[in-house]
């Protein structure tokens, strides 16, 4: 027990220190994790915007290249077909359009007469890009005439084809920008906004670049939202078809937009994301980390608590076992102190303990019936002297056996070398006389056979007695009287 207490204390303090350390470590890890996540998401978001812008720009570039390729195929197809009349020629254009998926495909002759599937018209003023067609391999023009939808016109010079004697100089397709915009609309749960701009910042796509800029000219919208220096830098980027990004705040909202040029068009593809969305994502990631860490802390706490409980139970069990061992040892020691080593019955020390206990009960009036029987071995000195101490010891053991066999319901004590006392209570008290008589008869028989002879006397607790000693004294007198009687019968007295 003396050793277990410091052990438990050490275990508890150690456990608390371990928990505190682990908790602190976990919170530190969470903070580190959160900072790292913020930084990473911020970086990734820029990449994300740039990637989104580039992806959309690539779609447009691919669309343009694909249309240029298809136009060349269309020209080859028409060159191979023999169209005699305007009707056949228009049918040919119609077939090419549907076959190659070309939108509003047209051929232009040297007088700027435009031939489409359904119409033939003078197009010099309408398609101003036709004046440049002879000097360029590819012409990409953005067109918005008189309220019509904005269009991307792609033209290439052609040669070797003529109709009704007039050679063609070019062909072109017109792509509706609304249809291009539909191709660009990825489903990203509305987290990003995109818009196409021309060099002066005019919105070409008709899409809203977030709530602040909306469909306005981007540079008109950014006036006052960014510094003059930033404004000028980005205006210059648009004019020179460069990429860039802009950050601005509106109230408590931070916005980031990224733009990339679309080669050959003079357009800029801009993608915008509201910082709160990035923050929400960071928060989501952080909260997930927090949840994980909380679970880890909880798990650690539960583990440590379980460990502590197991430890305490083990300690308790160990303590109990130690206690039991000590009790057992104590009992053995007690038994050793109260037992006569030769006969195995209780000794004088035990008798005195019992006497004290009985005395307290007599004093309190709790005990009414108790008797003391005293026995003394006859002829022990004679045996010791004549046959040696071993024979004497055997005689003592025989006498003890005789007493124990008769007073089975009493407490037998060896209170001296050849003296025994029996305390009788309860059933032993009630059968005392019969047992005494039987014992005496046996002793008298033993005199004849030379076996062990024990003189006994007894006395019971009387009304005026205040202690067992008084009972003992009367029993002692009676025992001596009996010794005399037995001597008369032939028993050795000493």
């Amino acid at each position: 027990m003396i050793k277990n207490r410091p052990l438990a204390r050490t275990a508890i303090i150690g456990g608390i220190i371990v928990i505190a350390f682990m908790t602190a470590n976990t919170f530190w890890s969470v903070r580190q994790n959160s900072d790292a996540t913020n930084e990473a998401v911020s970086t990734v978001s820029s990449f994300y915007l740039e990637a989104m812008a580039e992806r959309r720009a690539r779609i447009i570039t691919n669309l343009i290249n694909n249309n240029f390729d298809q136009m060349k195929k269309a020209v080859d197809f028409i060159a191979d077909s023999n169209c005699g009349s305007l009707e056949e020629f228009r049918d040919g254009i119609g077939r090419v359009k549907s076959l190659l998926g070309l939108n509003r495909f047209a051929l232009v002759d040297e007088d700027d007469i435009v031939y489409t599937q359904y119409t033939t018209y003078t197009g010099g003023s309408r398609h101003t890009f036709l004046s440049d067609v002879s000097t360029h391999d590819r012409i990409i023009t953005t067109v918005s005439i008189y309220g019509s939808s904005k269009q991307l016109c792609l033209a290439i010079p052609i040669s070797g084809i003529s109709f009704m004697g007039k050679p063609f100089k070019a062909c072109f397709v017109q792509l509706d920008i609304k249809e291009i915009v539909e191709l660009l609309a990825f489903d990203d749960q509305g987290q990003t906004h995109f818009a196409l701009y021309v060099k002066n910042g005019g919105n070409l796509s008709g899409t809203e670049l977030g709530p602040e800029i909306g469909e306005q000219n981007i540079f008109e919208a950014l006036k006052g939202l960014v510094s003059e220096e930033v404004w000028n830098e980005n205006y210059s980027n648009f004019e020179n078809e460069k990429e860039g990004n802009i950050r601005f705040s509106m109230g408590d909202q931070e916005e980031t937009l990224c733009y990339v040029p679309i080669q050959g068009t003079g357009w800029e593809m801009a993608v915008l994301i509201r910082d709160s969305i990035i923050q929400d994502q960071i928060r989501d990631v952080s909260e997930r980390n927090f949840r994980t860490n909380r679970r880890q802390i909880g798990f650690t706490l539960v583990s440590v608590a379980a460990l502590a409980v197991v430890l305490i139970l083990q300690l308790k069990k160990l303590s109990k076992e130690k206690l039991e061992e000590e009790k057992e040892a104590s009992r053995a020691f007690q038994n050793m102190a109260n037992t006569d080593s030769m006969t195995g019955v209780r000794n004088k020390h035990a008798y005195l303990d019992n006497e004290a206990l009985i005395d307290s009960k007599i004093e309190s009036g709790e005990l009414k019936n108790v008797a003391v029987v005293l026995g003394d071995i006859n002829g022990l000195k004679h045996v010791n002297d004549t046959y040696g101490h071993a024979a004497g010891d055997q005689l003592i053991k025989d006498a003890c056996t005789l007493i124990c066999e008769h007073f089975k319901q009493g407490a037998v004590f060896r209170i001296g070398g050849d003296e025994f006392a029996v305390i009788l209570q309860g059933k032993g008290y009630e059968t005392m006389h019969d047992v005494m008589n039987e014992f005496n008869r046996t002793v008298e028989e033993n005199i004849k056979t030379g076996s062990v002879v024990v003189s006994i006397g007894y006395s019971v607790l009387e009304k005026d007695d205040h202690s067992l000693q008084e009972v003992f004294a009367r029993a002692d007198q009676m025992m001596y009287a009996r010794k005399s009687e037995l001597k008369a019968m032939g028993a050795k007295t000493r």
């Binding site: 033939t120 008189y146 309220g147 021309v198």
Partner: protein, 374 residues
């Protein structure tokens, strides 16, 4: 959900109410028989006085891009038409867009409309005569013409009609009165447009000053009518004087040169009345270059002219609804091709509106017509 529906319904009702209001405004601004559904409206001048500087609604209703074919069921599934107009010019490109929309809507109904839409690089009655006669040989269902010179072309049209051809006039200029052409779709109030622009100028000049008139092609009815309207209006005011009248033959460069010359001869010029689309562009270039204070009023929706209007170099412009002219031309041509005559199905004169816009309207008009794509 219910709330959304209520909001949507409410929004739709507000929108509908706004549209009715705008339509009312638009029809009120018509000068004569407005479009296929309009009628002469005497409240037009009252409304003009009420909105003297033009309003957003005024601009939005100036050009109607929202058209649908009427319930007429064409008798054939393919029509082949021929149209010729004065000269290659952006004004007729705007008309072409309305024609293409009508063609597309017919195609949606399974009716194919093919057509030629041709013009010379410079206005020429001789060229137009040649084109008409060639077209007459090709069996088109209908021949449409924007008359380059009513005196020369009207007899040709009568001959074609007598030969059993179906002929109509469209866009800016009708044939002369008495011509047998079947119908006309376009501006029927050119004279009044000239009057309106000149009244605006006179008011601006407080009815005092020297003015010049720039006209388009010689003999072009629409240009001549506007010039007459302008001259008649000037003559009403004693303080006003016409110091020059010149023809640019629908050339911006010529209009510029003519204006420079006028300014040279009359450095104290107070105003210029421009009767076609090229006049105001050339005049404004010269006025700006010479830093003249002359007030320019003119016609149409040329992008450069609208930018001069936005800058204040041009005082006002009369914008015609070219898109509607184009749409209605195809729709009526199909009815004519089926042998119908003017009456219940279409009027002999389908008038289209002209809206006078001012500096404060210019930015919105530019956005509406050209978008913000420099």
């Amino acid at each position: 959900m219910l709330h959304k529906r209520i909001v949507k319904t409410g929004g739709a009702m507000i929108t509908a109410a706004a549209m009715v209001f705008l339509a009312a405004c638009a029809s009120s601004q018509n000068q004569g028989n407005a479009g296929l559904t309009g009628s002469p409206d005497s409240s037009e001048q009252i409304l003009k006085n009420e909105y003297p500087q033009g309003k957003t609604d005024n601009v939005r209703s100036a050009v109607d891009f929202d058209h649908e074919l009427d319930r007429y069921e064409p008798k054939k599934d393919h029509y082949d038409l021929y149209f010729t107009y004065k000269t290659v010019h952006p004004w007729w490109d705007a008309v072409a867009l309305g024609m293409e929309e009508a063609q597309r809507q017919f195609l949606d109904k399974g009716i194919v409309i093919t057509y030629e839409y041709m013009a010379p690089n410079g206005a020429s009655a001789v060229d137009q005569t040649k084109r008409l006669l060639e077209a007459a040989e090709k069996g088109y269902d209908v021949i449409g013409v924007d008359v380059a010179d009513e005196a020369v072309i009207s007899p040709i049209l009568d001959t074609l009609i007598e030969d059993g051809k179906k002929v109509m006039t469209f866009s800016s200029s009708d044939a002369k009165e008495g011509c047998k052409r079947i119908a006309y779709v376009g501006n029927t109030h050119n004279y009044q447009d000239g009057v309106d622009l000149t009244e605006a100028l006179c008011k601006k000049l407080d009815y005092k000053g020297k003015v010049a008139i720039l006209v388009g092609s010689v003999g072009a009815p629409c240009h001549e009518d506007r010039a007459r309207g302008a001259a008649d209006t000037i003559s009403k005011y004693n303080g006003m004087e016409i110091v020059a009248t010149e023809y640019d033959m629908d050339s911006v460069d010529l209009a510029y040169e003519l204006t420079l010359n006028i300014l040279k001869d009359h450095p104290d010029l107070d105003g210029i009345i421009c009767c076609n689309m090229s006049n105001p562009v050339g005049a404004a270039r010269a006025i700006k270059e010479k830093k003249s204070n002359a007030v320019v009023v003119g016609m149409d929706h040329d992008e450069e002219a609208l930018r001069y209007l936005n800058e204040g170099v041009i005082y006002c412009l009369g914008v015609q609804d070219c898109y509607s002219i184009g749409f209605d031309t195809i729709m009526i041509a199909v009815k004519i091709a089926d042998g119908n005559a003017p009456g219940d199905l279409f009027p002999e004169l389908t008038d289209e509106i002209t809206t006078v816009i001012y500096q404060e309207d210019a930015a919105l008009m530019l956005e509406l017509l050209y978008g913000d794509i420099l």
